[in-house]
């Protein structure tokens, strides 16, 4: 007698073939919905157009600008967001829920709205934009600084939230043990807490990067030139039509995917020791 394939049975399984197949039907449709446009985007390309578009200086500059600005955004999100995440995870203070809610606000603000609001603060006559130019010589219009500001606003919640969850998962008593072993608060933080939370922090940074490189709405309002890749693609679509735009789009998708996979590998693939040791 041959073994019959019944994946709905056994340990950790759903138990019923009906539930199993119904769930896979829904899930499969969803996966197809996600993958089909992306596959079609690549399938429609001819090597010639791809190479020609990839050779264009403006496309390459836009791609480089997108990657650079997104990396900078992730770095800044890490520098400011991770300490906030640690506070939210470890310290109880009045108004903590309000702070957590404020962190989530950018997720609900339409990105064009975010762009306009940011323009009023960081624009030429904005309440920060003007003094920054006058006293520091830092301009947020027509510069990468403006792009980073737009990207940071829409993508920083991912870093704060992921890092907060990661810090919450580190047993406070393990930090206590580190202290009694003779480590000062900073040494305990950097030798024990941060390494244990690192995977979550890295996930947050990766999500922030991914969200940044894909941002269009806020960036296009705050900084049209120099063009990031999404803005460049939009412009090419308006000027030259679908064929050229889709080639550039495929290129951006390729770059984003490669970097996303690389970061995930760096965060997850390297360390063989798993778990928080509860």
């Amino acid at each position: 007698m041959t073994a019959v394939w019944r994946p709905w049975r056994g340990e950790g399984s759903v138990g019923s073939p009906m539930v199993f197949f119904a769930a896979w039907l829904c899930g499969g449709l969803l996966l197809a919905f996600i993958l089909l446009p992306l596959i079609q985007l690549f399938a429609a390309q001819t090597a010639g157009t791809m190479l020609q578009v990839a050779g264009q200086a403006d496309v390459r500059a836009a791609l480089a600008l997108s990657v650079t600005a997104s990396l900078l955004t992730a770095l800044i999100a890490g520098a400011f967001g991770v300490p906030l995440a640690y506070l939210l995870a470890r310290v109880n203070f009045p108004g903590k829920n309000a702070v957590a809610a404020i962190v989530d606000v950018p997720l609900t603000v339409p990105h064009t709205v975010a762009g306009i609001a940011l323009l009023m603060v960081f624009g030429r006559r904005g309440i920060l934009g003007e003094p920054f130019e006058n006293f520091l010589g830092l301009r947020f219009w027509g510069t990468i600084a403006g792009i980073v500001v737009a990207m940071l606003f829409v993508s920083v919640p991912y870093t704060v939230n992921a890092a907060r969850i990661a810090f919450e998962a580190v047993d406070p008593r393990i930090e206590m043990v580190a202290r009694t072993l003779g480590m000062g608060p900073l040494r305990a933080l950097f030798r024990v807490t941060v390494p244990l939370a690192w995977r979550g922090i890295a996930t947050g940074l990766t999500l922030t990067f991914a969200r940044s490189i894909s941002e269009f709405g806020a960036v296009v309002i705050l900084v049209y030139y120099p063009m990031t890749a999404p803005v460049q693609i939009y412009e090419m679509f308006l000027r030259y039509g679908l064929e050229k735009a889709s080639a550039a789009a495929a290129l951006l998708l390729l770059v984003s995917l490669v970097l996303f996979i690389l970061f995930r590998y760096l965060a997850y693939g390297r360390r063989p020791i798993a778990g928080s040791g509860r």
Binding site: M176, T180, L181, M183, G184, V192, P195, L196, G275, G277
Partner: protein
């Protein structure tokens, strides 16, 4: 010189208050702190380790006043549930980070020597996650030793373990502490830990220490009903003192007179409780009462029998309910069964009057 001195330490933590704790741990001794969940045992340990600034009082480890020192300068070995090894480091690195943090002018502690001393040299490269509880305990002790602790603080390190592992680890821990003559404060809600580990025991409840003393003394003579309850003394009976003689009092419990050991404040006419440990009660057949010194002889009937392996718990009815605990072998010899008539023999010295 005492290993640890707490003088009137008190502290407020949210709604919890640790109330004026005064405690002395003589050098080389192990004090077991017992109490129900929420008694404040962990807060007490964390306060000694330096994680809560005490509002009042002083804490001395040896002759060092550590009241104002941060945890990293108090030199305590802190063992927590599951031992708190750093899961992102291997065992050698776990010890090395502790050694590194304590490296002063003199040569720091040698990691490989510590690994060898605790018999875990073969686990140097292993992740803490794959270790058995016993290996974890040894690694945690080795790591603590790297920071030269003057005092060990153990916060229910066995709480998550099964009974067998708990017994083994308790034995090993007790051997380590006695061999190194390291003073230790061991917090637990498991009474088995008291008997196995403690020279001294402190009973804690609601942020206060109710009684502290030699383990045998506290078990025999709990000061109050609350202490007797926390110690799990099976029979705590309400009664009235009828007559007090030199060393004896007579307590009337549900109309039956019990000869009891005299407490200091026992006076005739006062309502009290008496505590009788289940193992202090001997049972005999009605027709063959042995000639032993037991002032209290109560005619009783067996209500229920509960076999717990080597021991059997017998519930008796003798005008009031009594729980006795005897060897299962003896219970078999007595042919105990529900309804069986017996005599319960209790020496007056095992009937302890609780005035409070």
């Amino acid at each position: 010189m005492n290993a640890l001195t707490l003088a009137d330490v008190s502290l407020k933590l949210g709604t919890f208050t640790l109330g004026e704790i005064s405690l002395v741990l003589p050098a080389h001794e192990i004090l077991v702190v017992v109490g129900p969940n929420g008694a404040g045992k962990s807060v007490l340990l964390e306060t000694i380790a330096g994680f809560h600034r005490s509002a009042r009082g002083r804490i001395l480890i040896g002759d060092r006043d550590v009241t104002g020192l941060p945890p990293e300068r108090r030199r305590v070995g802190f063992l927590v549930q599951n031992f708190g090894l750093f899961p992102h480091l291997n065992i050698a690195q776990n010890i090395a980070v502790a050694a590194e943090a304590n490296r002063s002018a003199d040569e720091g502690p040698d990691v490989s020597a510590l690994l060898a001393r605790f018999g875990i040299a073969h686990l140097a490269d292993a992740s803490p996650l794959v270790l058995s509880p016993g290996e974890k305990q040894r690694a945690a002790l080795a790591r603590a030793e790297a920071s030269h602790p003057d005092l060990f603080l153990l916060d229910e390190p066995f709480a998550a373990l099964d009974v067998q592992a708990r017994d083994d680890l308790r034995l090993e821990l007790s051997r380590f502490l006695r061999e190194t003559r390291a003073p230790a404060l061991f917090v637990t809600h498991d009474r088995a830990d008291v008997a196995a580990l403690g020279d001294r025991v402190a009973i804690m409840c609601d942020g206060k220490i109710l009684q502290c003393g030699a383990a045998s003394e506290v078990f025999r003579r709990p000061v109050s009903r609350a202490v007797a309850g926390i110690l799990g003394i099976e029979n705590i009976l309400a009664g009235d003192i009828e007559g007090a003689e030199q060393h004896r009092v007579r307590v009337i419990v549900a109309g039956h007179a019990l000869e009891a050991e005299a407490g200091d404040r026992a006076q005739a006419g006062t309502g009290v409780h008496v505590a009788i440990r289940a193992e202090a009660i001997r049972l005999a057949p009605r027709d063959r009462v042995p000639v032993i010194a037991a002032e209290n002889r109560l005619a009783a009937n067996v209500v229920t029998l509960q076999c717990l392996g080597a021991l059997t718990k017998v519930t008796l009815e003798c005008g009031f309910r009594l729980v006795a605990c005897l060897m299962t072998r003896d219970a078999d010899e007595l042919r105990l069964a529900p309804g069986a008539p017996v005599v319960a023999l209790i020496p007056a010295t095992d009937v302890h009057v609780l005035v409070l």
